[in-house]
Symmetry: C2
Subunit: 365 residues, 2 copies
DNA sequence: CGACGTGTGGCAAACGTTTGCCGCATGGTT
DNA sequence: AACCATGCGGCAAACGTTTGCCACACGTCG
């Protein structure tokens, strides 16, 4: 059979390429649930006896068509189970109604909060939520960003692992808001350095004079800032701050930290991450070191589980869900033109120390 | 100014509607990073001196064009930072390359595993991952499904809250795979009833004769199946099984359960959910009831934190990440035509009891 | 030397929606 | 009665890509 010259079912236009999946419009009455092909606006228009453009307006421009027509079109749409095609809309408008959340590791409970915060703001804005895990790899992050552009209206980057230059580049390609990363783009930062200093002060007030800091990945922007703030505070408070190295922020990494704690002979330790801190607690218990009697441990993030572990973890509570919410809010405002890029960045979100059972007065030497 | 009759910049086609965002193609040389408009295939074609169709083929049909042309087009694409438009592709092909994961509550750590499993399979298939939270509401679930159709190639439903009839309806509208729900569609089920029975046997072997079951939401399919399995096993093992009611599967719900445990005078309890079990543990401790000496508690799911809490929770380990992986695998195979809908369903995934510190021999009365 | 196959590139339709412009009809105003 | 404003609906282009068909230019074989 030849495609050329064969007539369409109603408009007589020639069709090339893949044949229509079905040349009949979705059946008008009866069981619509078995319709193999989703109804299009054309079907709706045909059923209600108006032009496609009118059908479109009836559904999206309240008041633009007469009440009677609108009712007829709506009824037809309802009957056919019509839902507009996202891609078609996106193609024309350039907006997909989708926002991506890019995280380095979906496994980390910290990023669960990011998921929640983003999700809750996106729901309000009727946006859909694309989730991308870059597995801590800057290359994967960049690939994701490339593919995302055009598929997505904007992206929230939590814990971006890209270097500044590449990040700036992509921020020019699509709307980006970062969390915990100050950049030539919009961002929300959480004052974890302030929290770390609070943790240090807490330990000092308990009589600790020799305190360790167990850091996270070198690519983490927050880690660098915390190190600096801690060093400054340690100088001011006149205590010894011992660098316990960089660690993979997972429970497995904690064993190494625990051993370093013992070796370095510190009586208290501030740990990059609750996850890491859980590992520290487990390993110290294994080695027979009693927390908090012999060593005090402070975590960071106050993730799910911090109050479950025994002793319950003293930790810097980070409003991460709120941060993600705000970041998404910023992004959406920018997408809707409510906010311009050069508006003042929001102030850092405050953190606070939650004192639980893993810290206590320093042991008498 | 009039649009009609005004000539386009190169093809002489009339243009109506929104003016082109910029009539020049993205600049050929120099700083491409500042390009305000993403490069299209037309730009690539123009730069390499071929037709759009040829450019398309050069990039997607290896061997269809001469090697020399392909190289030229690839170079141009590279130079312009070209990335194909997802929506445009989707519109024509009917495939978006996106799969949705629909969960009732992103807050629940159990669903985090679903996120991970889905994510890891989707990555292999080069699919993107849309995350939808229905907040335990069947209505929201249905709305999501409606909007999803056309925007998404298929959906994985973990813990669907829709009734059978509606679910069957939507399964006809778009490819759906469910987790823990046997349906006239593809599905992966986890043998939690078997696990619950294991838990019961464990308690019985420890000497417990009066055992409670604290259930989850009535809309949960798994909950119903577990109840049945437990009732049967209790009869067979000749022990008293006490129904402790239906509960919201969160920590907050645990207080109620704990009180019911005390009131009902059971010495052991099987709880719908680890989350709920955490709440039970906390409340029992608050009331001065010692676990496991006075009451034994078994959870379900083995979520993050089950080994952190004290006493560590004895629980039914559920391979939820694997279940999500398999469900996604089923879906992708179906999308790629590797699998037909009427193929045999995979067998239930086995569960096993992880015995930790929250269970012990029944107290002597 | 002509017929034919093969390799390569172009034309233009099609996917489903939105929207600028135009035309028609109706009702109100001078 | 002629004119104008307004309301409503239709036409058709446009978004960016893919792809069936065709056209052209070779080279080879009879």
């Amino acid at each position: 059979m030849v495609a050329i010259g064969c007539r369409g079912h109603e408009d007589g236009r020639r069709r090339v390429g893949r044949r229509r999946r079905s040349s009949r419009p979705a059946q008008a009455g009866g069981d619509i649930s078995a319709s193999p092909r989703p109804a299009t606006l054309r079907d709706v228009a045909a059923l209600s006896g108006v032009a496609v453009s009118t059908a479109s307006r009836a559904l999206t421009r309240p008041g633009r068509v007469s009440g009677e027509t609108e009712a007829r079109v709506r009824a037809a749409a309802e009957q056919l189970g019509y839902a507009p095609s996202g891609p078609a809309r996106a193609l024309l408008s350039g907006r997909t109604g989708v926002v991506a959340l890019v995280v380095p590791d979906v496994t980390n409970p910290f990023f669960f909060s990011a998921v929640r915060g983003t999700q809750s703001r996106l729901r309000q804005g009727r946006f859909a939520h694309l989730l991308v895990d870059t597995e801590e790899s800057p290359a994967a992050e960049e690939r994701a960003l490339r593919d995302l552009r055009g598929t997505v209206d904007g992206a929230v980057l939590a814990g971006a692992r890209l270097d500044d230059e590449r990040l700036a580049h992509w921020a020019r390609e699509l709307p980006i808001v970062t969390i915990n990363r100050s950049q030539p783009t919009d961002h929300v930062v959480v004052d974890t350095p302030g929290g770390a200093v609070q943790a240090l002060q807490h330990l000092v007030s308990l009589g600790h004079r020799r305190i360790g800091y167990a850091g996270g990945p070198p690519t983490s922007w927050s880690d660098g800032r915390r190190r600096a703030a801690l060093a400054e505070a340690a100088g001011r408070l006149d205590v010894d701050l011992v660098d316990l190295g960089s660690h993979v922020p997972r429970r497995e990494g904690g064993a190494l930290v625990a051993d370093a704690v013992v070796t370095a002979g510190v009586s208290g330790v501030v740990v990059f991450n609750d996850l890491l801190a859980f590992g520290v607690l487990a390993r110290l218990a294994e080695r027979g070191v009693v927390v908090p009697d012999e060593v005090s441990v402070v975590g960071c993030d106050d993730v799910f589980g911090a109050d479950l572990v025994r002793p319950a973890l003293t930790t810097v509570a980070v409003p991460s869900e709120r941060a993600a919410y705000l970041a998404t809010d910023l992004l959406l405002n920018r997408l809707e033109g409510t906010r311009t890029t050069d508006a003042a960045p929001p102030p850092p979100l405050p953190t606070h120390l939650v004192v639980r059972g893993s810290t206590a007065p320093a042991p008498r030497p």
